[in-house]
Amino acid sequence: MKFFERIAWLKLDGDDLRLGLTCFFSGVLLAIMTGPEGNLVQPVYAFQHSLFSSHVWGFLIFGVLLAAASIYRRKVRTGVIRSSRTVARRKPRAWLSDVVFSADLTTKLVTGVIALIAAVIIADFTGPFVPDKMGFHQIFSQFSHTRTYGYIAIIFWLLNAYRVRRHPKTQSTRSPSFLGSPGAMIVGGALGGLLFALCADPWLPVRFSFKYFALHGPSDNVFFHHWTTYLWTLVGLMVGVQAVNKKKAAARPASSRVRRVRHVKVSQNTRLALYGGALFVAVEMPKFISPYWQESIFQQIGIFCLLAIGLNVVVGFAGLLDLGYVAFYALGAYTNAYLTNALPIHPPFVLNAFFSIPFAILVAMVAGVLLGLPTLRLRGDYLAIVTLGFGEIIYVLASNLTSITDGAGGTGPVGSFSMHIGFAHFALNGLAITDDLNFYYLLLAFIVPILFLFNSLNHSKVGRTWAAIREDEVAAASLGINGLKYKVMAFAIGASTSGVAGVLSSVKLGSLFPSDFALQVSIFVLVLVIFGGMASITGVLIGAAFIGWILQYLIFHSFIDYQDADKFMYLGAILVLTMIFRPQGMLPSKRRQREFQDSDAGLGSADAMGTAPEGPLS
C-alpha cells in the first residue's frame, strides 16, 4: 500500500497502464524477434530458449525503461510532473540550458539518455561477438560488440538532440553550447564518424583504416597513388568552395529572418557539387576496397539502385503499387538467357548481352502494357494484386517449365557483354572476380544516364502530369488528361527498367535459378524505394545504398541473433513503420512530402489508386 501511496503523485491511470504495457511488450517482441531460430520439432523449447537467453533480459529491461520514459513523458505533457522548462528558467547556468527549453526536448533528451543506458545494458548482456570472416578482432571482440551498441546509442542521442532550437520566449543571449548549434553538431558528427571509420574496421571495409595499415603496411594502400584521386579532389574542392561562397552571399540578406533548421534550401551550385561528389565517390570508392566488398557491396547496390529507380517511377512518380516488379526482372534475365543461347530452346540468332537489352526492354514493356491496360482501368489497388499474382506466376512457370527454362536446376551459362568497335575492346566475364570492377562500371554506365533520363522525365510534362494524377485524378481528367495512358506509361517504364536490370544481373549471376526471382525481390525493392523516400531520386539511391550496405554488414556482424533469412522480417517492419511515421521517406522529395501533408489534412490523395475513400473513416 505504501508503495502505491508513494507513486500516487504520478496519478497513474488506465492510459499509463496501457502505455507501459505496450512498451514492455515491444521489448518482449524485440526479444522474441531476435531470439534464436526455432524448429517445429522443438518449437516450445526454441521459444523458451529465446526467452531465457541472456540478451533477452537486455531487451526486457529496455522495455521497462521505455515504459518508464513514455509514462514520464506523458506525465510531463499532461502537467502532472512539473515541466523542466521551469527548471531551466530558474537555473540558467545549467549546461543544458540552451538545449533544454521545451518539455518535448527534455523528454527527448531523457529518452536519449535512457537509450544510451539501455544500449550499454544490452551490450553487457549479449553474448560474445561473432568474429567476422576476416578474423580481425578476435581479441577485441567483446569490446567492439559493446562499442557497436554504444555507437547506436550515441546516434540515437544525437538524433534526439537534433531539433535543438532556442526557446522563443526566453531567447537566451548566451552563445549556444556545442550541442545547441546544428552546424557544430554536424561537423562534430562528421569528424566523429571519420575517426570512427578509421579506427573501427568492422564498419567500413576501406583499406586505409588504421587497422589495415597495422596488418598490411602502407604499401598496399592505393589511395594516394592514383592520379584520379588528385584530379577529383581538386575539382571537388573548386566546385565546393565556389558553391559555399555563393551560398553565403545568397544567405546574407535573409539572415535577419528566423532560419528554419529543417528545410535547408540548397542552391544550384551546391547541388552540382553534391552530384559531383556523389559521382566521385561512386567512381573512386570501389577501387580501394577488397574484391569481396567490390562484388557484394558495389555490384549488388548497383543492381539495387537500378531496380529501385525503376520502381520509383511507378510508386513514386505515378503513385501506383507494383508488387510483381521482379517478374519483369525475371523476364529481362530470361530474355538474355534465351538470346545468348543458355536455355534448352535455341534462339534464331545468338546475340551478345549488349544487344539483348533492347529485346529485354521490349519484352518487359509489352508484358507491362498487357498487364497494366486491363488492370489500371479499374482501381489502382487491383494493379497491386494483379502484379503480385503475375510475379508468382512467372516464378511458378520458371520453376516448372523445365523444357524451356531448365527449371529449378538453373540454366546454362548466360552469355556476357562484349563489344569491339575499332580500337575499343570491351569484354566482360561476369563470373571472374577480376572483372568485378568492370562490371560495376558497366552498371554505373547504365545507372547514370537512366538517372538523368528519369530526373528530366519527372520535370517534364509527363512528370507534371503524373503529379496532377496523384494529387487529384478527377481534376486532372477534367483538364483533358488521359489518366490511364500516363499510368500505363509509368508502369511500362518501370517494367522496362526492371528488364534492363534483369539482363545486367543475369550476366553477373552466370546461370539463372528461379529462386533468384522470388516475390521477396519485389518487396525488397519496394523497401528501398519507400525507405529512402518515394519520388525522391536522391532519397531512393541513398536508401538503396544504405539498406544494401547494412544487410551486407549484418551478414558479417551478426546483430544479436540476426540471420540472413530474418531480413525480411525487419524490412517488413520498416515498411509499416515508415508508412505510419514518415510516409514520405527519410529523404523525401518536397512535392511528395507536401502531398502527404495535404492528404493528411484531407486535400488530394497522394497516389493514383483511383478515387479516394469517401471521407475519413475514423
Partner: protein
C-alpha cells in the same frame, strides 16, 4: 474428371472462407487486405499446435476426436481473429486516423504481412511439417466416380455452418447492421452513433476467424509452413473478385466456381502446378470483362 470437379469444389470451399475476409474488409475500408494471407498462416499454426498437444494418445475415440476438431476450429479461428485485429490495430488504424492515401495502406499491409511471415519463419522454423489428423481417413465413398472423404464432408459442414452464421450476423445482428452502415458511408454512420473503429475491428475479427479456420483446413490437408498463406490468399482474392468483391454470397460462390475452374483443366493438362496460373488467368479475365464479378458488388461501389 468428376474427381477433379469434386476436388475443385472442396478446395474452393477453403478459398471462399478466405475470400470472405477480403470481401468484408473491402466492404468497410475499400481496401484489399494484403496481410490476410498471414491470418491464414497463423490460423494454420494455431491449429497445428492445438492438434499436436491434444492428439497424443494412439487411440482416440470418435467423440473425443469431434471435440478436438471443434477445439481446433475455435483455436485457429480465434488466433486468426486476434491476428487480424492486431493487423488492423497496428498497420491500418494509425493510417486511418491520419486519413492517409490508399497507397500507404497497401504498403503498410504488405509490410505487416512480411513481418508476420518471417517472424513465424524465425520462431517456428522454415521447414514445412505435417499436422496431426483428427478426422478419420478410413471413411470414404464414391459418388459418380469421385471419391469423397470424411475430411471433405467435415469441410463442407463447417463451411456451411460458418457461412450461415456470418450471413446471419451481417444481415440480422446489431454488429452486422453497423458493418453495413460503415460500408455504405463511414462518416454518416459515425454521426448516427456507430463506433466506426469497433465496427472495423469486428469486421476484421469476423474475416480473421474465417481465415483462421481456413488455415486450419489447409494445414490439415497438407502441411504447415510459414509461407503457406500466400498462394491460397491470392487465389481467394481472385475468388472474391470473381464473386463480386464486397459481396458475401459472392465470395462463397466465387470460391467454389474458382475451384472448379482451376481443377477441371488439370484433368486435361496433367500438370498440377498450372492451377495458380489458371487462377491468375481467371483473375485477369474477370477484371477484363466483368470487373464487378458474377454477382456485382453489393457492399462496395461499382468499379
Amino acid at each position: 474428371m468428376a474427381s477433379y470437379f469434386v476436388l475443385g469444389i472442396f478446395t474452393g470451399l477453403i478459398y471462399s472462407m478466405v475470400a470472405l475476409g477480403y470481401t468484408l474488409v473491402y466492404g468497410v475500408l475499400r481496401l484489399i487486405n494484403f496481410a490476410h494471407s498471414e491470418v491464414l498462416m497463423s490460423g494454420g499454426f494455431a491449429g497445428y499446435f492445438f492438434l499436436r498437444f491434444t492428439m497424443h494418445a494412439t487411440h482416440i475415440s470418435t467423440p473425443v476426436r469431434v471435440l478436438i476438431l471443434l477445439g481446433g476450429i475455435v483455436a485457429s479461428g480465434a488466433v486468426g481473429a486476434i491476428v487480424a485485429i492486431a493487423i488492423e490495430r497496428f498497420a491500418y488504424r494509425p493510417l486511418r486516423r491520419r486519413n492517409a492515401p490508399k497507397l500507404t495502406y497497401l504498403i503498410s499491409a504488405i509490410g505487416a504481412s512480411y513481418f508476420l511471415l518471417n517472424l513465424a519463419g524465425k520462431e517456428f522454423g522454415r521447414d514445412p511439417s505435417a499436422t496431426a489428423q483428427p478426422i478419420t481417413q478410413s471413411f470414404s465413398f464414391t459418388l459418380w466416380g469421385a471419391q469423397i472423404t470424411a475430411f471433405d464432408l467435415v469441410l463442407l459442414g463447417v463451411t456451411a455452418v460458418l457461412f450461415l452464421v456470418v450471413n446471419t450476423l451481417v444481415s440480422k445482428s446489431k454488429v452486422g447492421r453497423s458493418i453495413r452502415a460503415v460500408a455504405q458511408d463511414a462518416e454518416t454512420a459515425s454521426l448516427m452513433g456507430v463506433n466506426v473503429n469497433t465496427t472495423i475491428a469486428s469486421t476484421f475479427a469476423i474475416g480473421g476467424f474465417m481465415g483462421g479456420v481456413a488455415g486450419l483446413f489447409i494445414a490439415m490437408s497438407s502441411n504447415v509452413d510459414y509461407n503457406m498463406g500466400f498462394t491460397p490468399a491470392l487465389l481467394a482474392f481472385t475468388a472474391a473478385v470473381l464473386g463480386g468483391i464486397g459481396n458475401i454470397r459472392g465470395a462463397m460462390v466465387g470460391g467454389v466456381v474458382l475451384g472448379i475452374f482451376m481443377y477441371v483443366p488439370i484433368y486435361w493438362i496433367h500438370q498440377p502446378f498450372y492451377e495458380p496460373v489458371i487462377g491468375f488467368a481467371v483473375l485477369v479475365l474477370v477484371l477484363l470483362f466483368r470487373p464487378t464479378g458474377l454477382f456485382g458488388e453489393s457492399l462496395g461501389r461499382s468499379a
